[in-house]
Amino acid sequence: MPPPEYVRPASLAAAIGLLHRDHARLVGGGTDVILRLPPDVDTLIDLSDLGLDTIVEMDDGTYIGSMATLTAILEHPGLARLLDGYVASMMRQVGSPLLRNLATIGGHIARGRISDVIPVLLTLDARVGVYDGADHSLGLEEYLEAGAGRSGTIVTHVMIPHPAPGTAAEFLKFGRTAFDLALLNCACLATVSQGHVTTARVVIGETPHLGSRLASVERLLVGSDLGPAVIEDAAELARSAVAAGSDLRASAAYRRQLAFVATKRCLTAIASRAGTVPA
């Protein structure tokens, strides 16, 4: 097979045109593509020349260009302040600095599997900007659910809405080593107003499935006082509600126990912080 063509289009329209070739692959950081390059790939489309690497705070939220590296996100001062360093606390546990210096947020989300990033973004109600010839914006959950329907689109940005006052969040990852993939991860967020939870997000991931919201646990938390009894109930519910499976990393039973512990620890941490910022 002839080697692929490596191109850096100067416009999104040109990039989409190339993507419609039968065997094209998009290159963000390229760290996944380079390891799993099928022999029939004829075009590698590098998105580096499209100006998609900026991180900008706007009125409605923070817009992270899809070509921003994970390091750029980790080091961004505004994102470092967001919810007492919630995003940064997760990002420093993703891979290694070597990997983060190359990997892009857009490439990571488009991959849509094996992720500590996606659970955090789901709790933040993140939105994804995509281009398929025209610009569209959709919720991250909707984007992930599209599955194979995402082919032929280019992620242009991720948007994190500004959290409401009184919001706190916590991320936790269990792994064997500092560089390992998660056995299980957990991202929780709550907004507390006048002593009661008004918004709750609970995402447990690497179960081994990609993180998804536990709606039943969230419903339990909304309206509650986020006290120790409620937290204990929520953690027990997470234990049974999580879609845990066994794989080479961990057994389903162990993951259920991790889900209980992670939920309890995250919510306890949140309870001490949420509501302290006046609504």
Partner: protein
């Protein structure tokens, strides 16, 4: 295809396969301080600086490096002189087989360029992607801490 970049201050043009990694290209150019430990992004022995940031060269398309400034271990020190990180690596006894050392030092160089006063924890966090089979990491971390002190003294 042809790609042009700067390696250790030398403008370089190379013929490459569009699908190949920077690690293979740099080694073919003679920069064999860039080690091939796993060719999978798991060990860190191929770490080089690209525009000042340490990356796994095996995970970077060589074509992606077009127009960049690359530094390998051979270019970390000056002509005939060792970088403090290299000096303290030797003095701290952290070089056993030496295979992981280039990757460790390039990663540490990136860390110190962006955080000149790291804590021991910062150094440990920075090195999570650099595996070592020989040392148990203790002396590597001591070596980096000693380089931090030496470089701070040079500044003073």
């Amino acid at each position: 295809m042809r790609v042009t970049f700067t390696v250790n201050d030398r403008p370089t043009t190379a013929d490459i396969d569009p699908g190949e990694s920077l690690m293979w290209v740099l080694r073919r150019l003679g920069w064999t301080g860039v080690k091939n430990g796993c060719d999978n992004g798991d060990c860190g022995t191929c770490a080089v600086l690209v525009d000042g940031r340490a990356v796994n060269a095996c995970l970077m398309f060589a074509a992606k490096a077009a127009g960049t400034t690359i530094v390998t271990i051979e270019g970390l020190g000056g002509e005939g002189t060792l970088h403090p990180l290299q000096r303290t690596a030797v003095d701290s006894g952290s070089v056993q087989c030496g295979f992981c050392t280039p990757g460790v030092l390039m990663t540490a160089a990136d860390l110190l360029a962006h955080n000149p006063h790291p804590t021991e924890y910062d150094i440990r966090e920075a090195l999570v992607g650099n595996l070592c089979r020989c040392t148990g990491y203790v002396k590597q971390i001591e070596g980096v801490l000693a380089a931090v002190a030496a470089m701070a003294e040079d500044e003073a």
